[in-house]
Every structure is written in structure tokens, then in C-alpha cells.
């Protein structure tokens, strides 16, 4: 093991937590994790939020964020122990031997300084090269990373370049001092999927061409599979599985890893589209008050009863705005929305109680979708009271039925939201929607904030409930895998318009329009060499044009 660059052994990381109104206590964030990175290789650290992957990543610089303490084990960098090293030694290695690329480059750049100053700062402060050489190297890196106008982009300030570009500049900043190891901490997570692929490709190329070793941290296994040579799967601060990328992707041995690899273990047969729709959106156009820009342009979609219409798009595509128009929160300026054969009035206030009851909504963040001061019983019971005038024993029995339906114990009736897990919270929100006996439930990114295993459970529950209750779903998401799993019909949205619409089997089959092609081909697939194939394919296409 002569060329081992970073060797972390039995790492233990702790922090002090301060729960309100209680004495502070120590919590273990990472326990007994060992990681090794050889020169020139890329190790992917993968796990959900709270798995400790960023914490481990930063430990390679012997850095604990916000009171996090590296309390045990060894961290050997180029053979010397750095966990217990003094500040002076750490300063000399940070930004020189090891560098860091943060998730949000927009926050990580100093807003008051030009990009070039920040990119070459370490090269100068560590005395690695003269200014002219550092600047030349930075421009080279800008070019290598595919940034526009590489000669001059360094003169700009952080807010003057886009998010995807900023992420590449940050990569250049990390590579400029010729480090041995770069830590990439979710560098593409904050980006849209079509931007992500370019940044990912740029990072991969830069790693390859500079021969640097890297720790690549992400929650997305398909992403890391494109970049990493080896992968470590983490959960709750402990190692689950460690192996080569090829082995993890094709022959995962742990159940958790298998769940991550298989993504959606749900099969769903497309239902017959030739039914009278329960929801019909016709030529809807809408804009926000005080703006002169239509966020929805002439949108028309149909949703048959008991079926699922998925609205797919990137941030800013107008998919959530469509939900607001249907619910009446954003009255459309033009167009009609017909529900169960009657036209819904544009304004929320003008709608009848039945109109309100029959369209329910579930949100992305179950945390803030429930009043923290109300018990589960109150949350689920309120629609029963409000729409059906239930009270006392009758209401209690119905709440218990609903708890059974969402596969939660009856004992939860007196709990508060803060006492529930993420998945349980989302289930309670589903129960609250079901309590109204709706014909349509709008699901806005309901699984995006959840662990994949938990998300799977929620999707299965939604499908079972649809089969049992005949409720239709308008399912808003940016996640193509989820769409594949549960949709009957799909509408692809781009800049406020529906660019492709129809039954799932048709929408997801060629020939594609340009945007859908770009969108679908940009979604990372759990496959080695996928990135190269896509890039190759795109290159051929653009050459053909």
C-alpha cells in the first residue's frame, strides 16, 4: 500500500446537540469508519442526509464543521497523522494538499471579491507559484472545465455568473494549487438535472486530466457511479458496504445497497386512458401578481378518475404553479378548469365546500405541512369535523380507520408531528387528504425529501390507496424514476408550457422532442459508462446537424 494517499482508520466523530429546554448531550455522528484513497483514484461516499458522509469528507482536512469533533481513530494523509495535528500544520495542508468543493458554490464564494482573486488565492498564500503562473493555470482550468470566455470570467464577481458555472469555477479553484486530493461535497446536487450532466462531465474530465485523487460525496448513487472508482455506502454514521463501483452497482451484497441500486421496486401497469376525465385543464395561462411574465402558458391536460398524471419538469418549469392554479391559490388569467363535470371557479374563495373537499393536496415537506402544535388526531380529525361534521366517538373511530389505512398504529393519535419520522409525517399528511374523501389528490414532490427506502413505501401506499379508493393523483415531480414507477399519463413541462403530453408508454418512447430528449437523457442511470455514452451520443447528434 505504498501509494495510499489518505488512510482513515476507525474514525469516530462526535458533536454536542442542544435540544431546546433540555441539557446538552453528545451525539455520535460517525462511528468506526475506515476509508482509504489511493493516488489518482476516486472514492465515492454515498448515503442519505445524516449518514455522516460530509462529516467524513471534511475529516480528510481534519476539519469539524460547527462544533463537530473528531474524537477517535487515525487520519493519515501522505503517511502522517493529521487528526491531532496543530493549526500550523493543518493550515499548510489545507488548500494545498487537500482542497474542497462545496455543494453551494454561490454561498462558498466571497461575494465581495472577483473570482480570479479567489481561485488563485491558495496558490499565492502557500507560495506555490507566482501570480502570473497561477492566473495562467486558472485560465487553463477554466477552459478545461468548459467555462465560457475563460480569459475574462475571472474578472467577474460571484453573483455575475450562473450556478452551474460557479460550481465549475469552484472546481477550478480546488484544482489550481495542484492538490493531491480534492473533496467534492455534493457538487451537482443543487443544480437542475440538465445542468448537472455538463458539470459532472467537466468535473470528471478535470479529475482525469489532472490525475488528482478525489473523495466524491453525494446521495445519488447513479451520479457517483459515473465518477468513482470505488464506492462506500454509509448509513447513520456507519459503513454499510465498501467495494469497487462495478461491484456495488452490479452485485451489491447488503440489502440497503440493493434498495439504492434498484431505485424503484414498483411495477405499475398503465390504465385505460379512454375514460371521461375527472380533471380537465384547458388552455390555462397564469402569472403572479405584479409581474408581466406568464408562468403558465396555454396549458391543457386531462386526468381520468382513479389514474395518475405525472407533471415532470425542472425548477422553474411551472409544474408547481399548475398545482396552484388548479387549487385556486393562483387564479389563472385565461382558460378553464373542469372538475367532475363542473367548472371550478378561478378564485379559491368562490369555490364550494364540496369543490374544496374533493381536491386535496400533499406537500413535499411534511414537516411544515402540519401544524407543530396539533396532535395527529387533530390534524386528521379536522377535515372530518369540517367537511362531515363528525365529532366524538364517530370521529375517533374514523381517525383510527385512517391510521390503519396508512399502516400506522392507532397509538399515534395523540402524538405530535415532531415525534414522528419523516415517512410517518408524510403518511399522516396522506391520511389528512384521504379524510376528506377526495376525488383528486395533488402530490407536490411528495417523495423528494425522503430516504429512497421510505419513499418506496410511500409510493406503494399511494398506489394501494388509489386501487382501494379510486382517487386520482396529479403527481408533480422532477424525478423520472418515480414517474416511470407510478404514472399512467405524463406531461413534460418546460418554461411554463407543456412540451410533451400523453400516456406514459408514448411519452417515454421515441421519437422525442428536443427538450424531452435532453431531460430524459440527462437523468443519471445506474450504469457504468452511462455518462460517456450520453456525451458521445450528443456529440454525434450535434455533428449530424
Amino acid at each position: 500500500m505504498a501509494d495510499v494517499l489518505l488512510d482513515i482508520r476507525n474514525l469516530r466523530i462526535e458533536a454536542t446537540s442542544y435540544p431546546p429546554g433540555e441539557p446538552p448531550r453528545d451525539v455520535v455522528l460517525v462511528d468506526d469508519v475506515s476509508v482509504a484513497v489511493e493516488k489518482g483514484r476516486v472514492l465515492g461516499l454515498i448515503g442519505e442526509s445524516g449518514a455522516g458522509k460530509s462529516t467524513i469528507g471534511l475529516s480528510a482536512m481534519s476539519y469539524g464543521r460547527g462544533g463537530v469533533r473528531l474524537t477517535g481513530g487515525q487520519i493519515l494523509l501522505n503517511g502522517r497523522e493529521i487528526r491531532t495535528a496543530g493549526m500550523r500544520e493543518l493550515r499548510s495542508l489545507r488548500g494545498h494538499e487537500v482542497t474542497y468543493v462545496a455543494q453551494s458554490a454561490a454561498a462558498a464564494f466571497n461575494p465581495a471579491k472577483q473570482l480570479m482573486e479567489q481561485v488563485i488565492e491558495t496558490s499565492l498564500s502557500h507560495g506555490l507559484m507566482p501570480r502570473a503562473e497561477a492566473e495562467a493555470r486558472a485560465v487553463d482550468l477554466f477552459r478545461q472545465l468548459g467555462l465560457p470566455d475563460p480569459e475574462n470570467i475571472g474578472k467577474r464577481y460571484p453573483h455575475q455568473v450562473s450556478g452551474g458555472q460557479l460550481q465549475r469555477v469552484m472546481t477550478a479553484m480546488a484544482l489550481c494549487p495542484k492538490p493531491d486530493l480534492v473533496i467534492f461535497d455534493e457538487p451537482t446536487t443543487a443544480l437542475d438535472v440538465t445542468t448537472q450532466i455538463d458539470v459532472l462531465a467537466a468535473i470528471k474530465r478535470a479529475i482525469h486530466e489532472t490525475g488528482v485523487a478525489a473523495l466524491y460525496i453525494t446521495h445519488d448513487l447513479a451520479v457517483v457511479a459515473q465518477v468513482a472508482d470505488d464506492i462506500m455506502v454509509l448509513r447513520h454514521g456507519k459503513m454499510v458496504e465498501y467495494g469497487t463501483t462495478e461491484q456495488i452497482i452490479t452485485r451489491p451484497s447488503e440489502e440497503y445497497t440493493r434498495a439504492l441500486v434498484s431505485v424503484r421496486g414498483i411495477e405499475h401497469a398503465e390504465k385505460d386512458p379512454s375514460v371521461e376525465p375527472v380533471l380537465r385543464v384547458q388552455n390555462v395561462t397564469a402569472r403572479y401578481k405584479g409581474t408581466n411574465f406568464d408562468v403558465l402558458k396555454n396549458v391543457s391536460v386531462d386526468l381520468p378518475p382513479g389514474q395518475t398524471l405525472a407533471i415532470v419538469g425542472e425548477s422553474g418549469s411551472g409544474k408547481s404553479t399548475l398545482a396552484r392554479a388548479i387549487t385556486g391559490l393562483l387564479p389563472p388569467s385565461q382558460g378553464r378548469i373542469t372538475f367532475a363535470g363542473r367548472e371550478l371557479s378561478r378564485e379559491l374563495k368562490a369555490r364550494s365546500k364540496d369543490d374544496l373537499r374533493e381536491v386535496q393536496m400533499i406537500y413535499q415537506m411534511a414537516d411544515v405541512a402540519m401544524n407543530p402544535r396539533q396532535t395527529v388526531g387533530t390534524i386528521i380529525g379536522r377535515p372530518l369535523e369540517f367537511y362531515f361534521g363528525m365529532s366524538g366517538e364517530q370521529k375517533r373511530v374514523r381517525i383510527q380507520e385512517l391510521l390503519d389505512q396508512i399502516e400506522m398504529g392507532r397509538g399515534f393519535i395523540d402524538r405530535y408531528p415532531a415525534e414522528l419520522s419523516g415517512g410517518q409525517k408524510q403518511r399522516v399528511c396522506i391520511a389528512r387528504a384521504l379524510a376528506a374523501k377526495p376525488k383528486l389528490i395533488i402530490c407536490d414532490e411528495v417523495t423528494s425529501a425522503l430516504d429512497p427506502l421510505v419513499a418506496d413505501g410511500i409510493l406503494k401506499l399511494l398506489l394501494n390507496l388509489q386501487a382501494a379508493e379510486g382517487v386520482a393523483y396529479l403527481f408533480i415531480t422532477h424525478d423520472i424514476a418515480t414517474v416511470r414507477a407510478i404514472a399512467d399519463r405524463i406531461a413534460v413541462m418546460f418554461k411554463g408550457q407543456v412540451v410533451r403530453y400523453g400516456p406514459k408508454s408514448q411519452v417515454l418512447a421515441p421519437p422525442f422532442d428536443d427538450y424531452t430528449d435532453l431531460l430524459l437523457s440527462s437523468v443519471p442511470e445506474m450504469e457504468l459508462g452511462w455518462l460517456e455514452q450520453v456525451l458521445e451520443h450528443r456529440k454525434m447528434e450535434s455533428a449530424g446537424n
Partner: protein, 319 residues
């Protein structure tokens, strides 16, 4: 093409002028339309109806309020603040000297308080949650919890009476040298400094802490830069705007503290002048003083706004 910063600054200044105008209406309305009769209050309960009517006519109280407001405002704009009811003096003349005295006092208080607050704020941040921070925060909490006039008397009791270091009354007169003058106002300056120091230091601490906890300071740390470089090159340029903002807001606060402190030390300034004439129910003087205080207060707040705009890199280097 007008630079967007210029546009914003002009907008903000226009807003400030509008606000001052509205404040003048408020002050006028507050003194003229409330159910108190100026003539009655001047002449007292024993006044005869005839003398009341005469005085009302003399003061122009029979004109409609809008007319009276515009008469007053046009006078103010020409530097004519009217005459005092109680002694018939020209208000602008009487106020001129006093305003000078007040600004002199406020200036020296600011000269001491601002650097002190910033240094203490920096120390608090540097030793966050350790004893220097806790000590500073405890002492400043105490100074915030006691009203200025009490701080004044506590200071008089110990510094002027027990230790006899400073005079307990801040009397100034013509012909004093600067040194004598400074010695005379040393007590009110100490009290004013104590009064604003707490707020200023706490807000400075919060502003710097906010910058120190930002992601770009972490980036600088992960670049292995020295503590000094991090603070000088990454934290300070971004902390200047919020700190200056804090300072301005507290200077505005200082303007109010002056009123009480002048009364405590019998200092011939604006505050003393205002309080005396409130007691005498001398409305024109109260209006004039109120307007001047409001103008200074609004002006300092405006300055704080403008500085924040100028310091914002997003606005300075538009896309």
C-alpha cells in the same frame, strides 16, 4: 445609462425627504389638533374669554389647520422657526447655539463609543462563549437595563461626588478653551457612551458573527489561510456594511439619549431646551425641536441605508 446604485440612492433620499415631510405633518397635527388648547394652556385656567380670543387671533389659531401647517412649513423652509410663546425670543437664534452644544456632546460621545463598541464586539466574537464574551455581554446587559438618567446619577455619585474626578454639572460658556470644554462635558460623555455602548456592541457582535459563520469564511479556512488573512480579506470587507449600519442606527439612538443626559447635567443643549419648553407648553419651540430631532434621526437612518446600498457588491457590480 444611469448606474442602478445611483438610482437606488436617489430613490432612498427622496423617500427620506418624503418621510421627513410626513413627520412634520405628524408633529404639527400632534401639537395642534389634539384636544388641548394652546391659548388656554398659555394663559391658564383663570384666563378671561376675551383675552383667550385675542391670543387665539394673534397666534393665528382661527385659521384652518391646513393653512396654519403650510404657513409654518414655509417658515421652517426659510429658516424661520417662529418665536417662543414663553419669552418671545426667535427660536432659530436660541436653538442655533444649543444645537451646536448638543452636536459637540454627541460628537465626542460617538468618537469614543464607536471604536470601543467595535473593539469589544470583535473581542466578544474572538472569545465567543468564553469568559471575555460573557463578561462583556453581562456588563452591557446591565447598562442596557438601567435608564440613561440613572446611569447619569450613579456616575455622578461615584465619579463626581465620591472620587471628585469630574464636575457634576456640565456648564459651558463662551471663551472656554477646547480643553476646558471637554473637561466640562466629560461626565455626560461617559454616560452617553455607556448608554449606547451596550446596544452598539451587541449588534456589532451579531453582525460580525453572522459573517464569520458564512460559507465563504469556511471556504477561506479550508484554504488554509491564516486567521489574520481570513479576517482581513474575507470577513472584514463583508462585515463593514452591517457594522456601519449598526453604528448609524445607534447614533440615531444617541440623539435621543442626549435629551435625558442634558437634563441630568444641566447642559445647555437641544434636549434641555425641548424639555423646558414642553413643561412650559411652549408649542412653537416644541414643534421646532421635534422637527430637528426627527430630521437628525431620519437623516442618520437614511445614511445607514445608503451605506448598505453602496457596500453591496451585487449592486456595485451589476450583472
Amino acid at each position: 445609462m444611469v448606474h442602478p446604485i445611483l438610482k437606488l440612492v436617489v430613490q432612498r433620499v427622496a423617500l427620506g425627504i418624503l418621510l421627513l415631510l410626513a413627520a412634520s405633518v405628524l408633529i404639527f397635527v400632534g401639537t395642534q389638533i389634539l384636544p388641548g388648547d394652546v391659548a388656554q394652556s398659555i394663559l391658564g385656567q383663570s384666563a378671561t374669554p376675551v383675552s383667550l380670543a385675542n391670543l387665539r387671533a394673534e397666534l393665528g389659531l382661527n385659521d384652518p389647520p391646513v393653512t396654519r401647517y403650510f404657513n409654518w412649513l414655509s417658515g421652517v423652509l426659510q429658516g424661520d422657526l417662529g418665536t417662543a410663546l414663553s419669552n418671545g425670543q426667535d427660536i432659530a437664534t436660541a436653538m442655533g447655539r444649543r444645537l451646536g452644544n448638543t452636536l459637540f456632546l454627541a460628537f465626542w460621545a460617538a468618537i469614543i463609543a464607536v471604536p470601543l463598541a467595535i473593539v469589544l464586539g470583535l473581542i466578544s466574537v474572538r472569545y465567543r462563549d468564553r469568559w471575555p464574551d460573557k463578561l462583556i455581554s453581562g456588563v452591557t446587559l446591565a447598562t442596557i437595563s438601567v435608564p440613561e438618567f440613572l446611569v447619569g446619577y450613579i456616575a455622578v455619585f461615584f465619579l463626581a461626588v465620591q472620587l471628585q474626578w469630574f464636575p457634576s454639572i456640565a456648564s459651558v460658556y463662551d471663551g472656554m478653551t477646547l480643553g476646558e470644554r471637554l473637561y466640562a462635558i466629560s461626565m455626560p460623555v461617559i454616560v452617553l457612551v455607556l448608554a449606547v455602548l451596550g446596544h452598539m456592541m451587541r449588534m456589532t457582535r451579531a453582525a460580525i458573527l453572522n459573517v464569520m459563520q458564512s460559507a465563504y469564511v469556511e471556504t477561506a479556512e479550508l484554504k488554509g489561510l491564516s486567521q489574520f488573512t481570513i479576517i482581513a480579506r474575507h470577513a472584514l470587507p463583508n462585515a463593514v456594511a452591517p457594522v456601519v449600519n449598526v453604528v448609524m442606527l445607534n447614533l440615531a439612538y444617541l440623539v435621543v439619549g442626549v435629551v435625558v443626559v442634558e437634563v441630568v447635567f444641566v447642559y445647555p443643549g437641544m434636549g434641555q431646551y425641548l424639555v423646558d419648553h414642553v413643561a412650559k407648553r411652549d408649542v412653537p419651540v416644541v414643534q421646532a425641536c421635534g422637527l430637528v430631532f426627527a430630521a437628525v434621526y431620519i437623516g442618520l437612518n437614511l445614511l445607514a441605508d445608503v451605506i448598505s446600498i453602496l457596500a453591496n457588491p451585487r449592486l456595485r457590480h451589476p450583472k
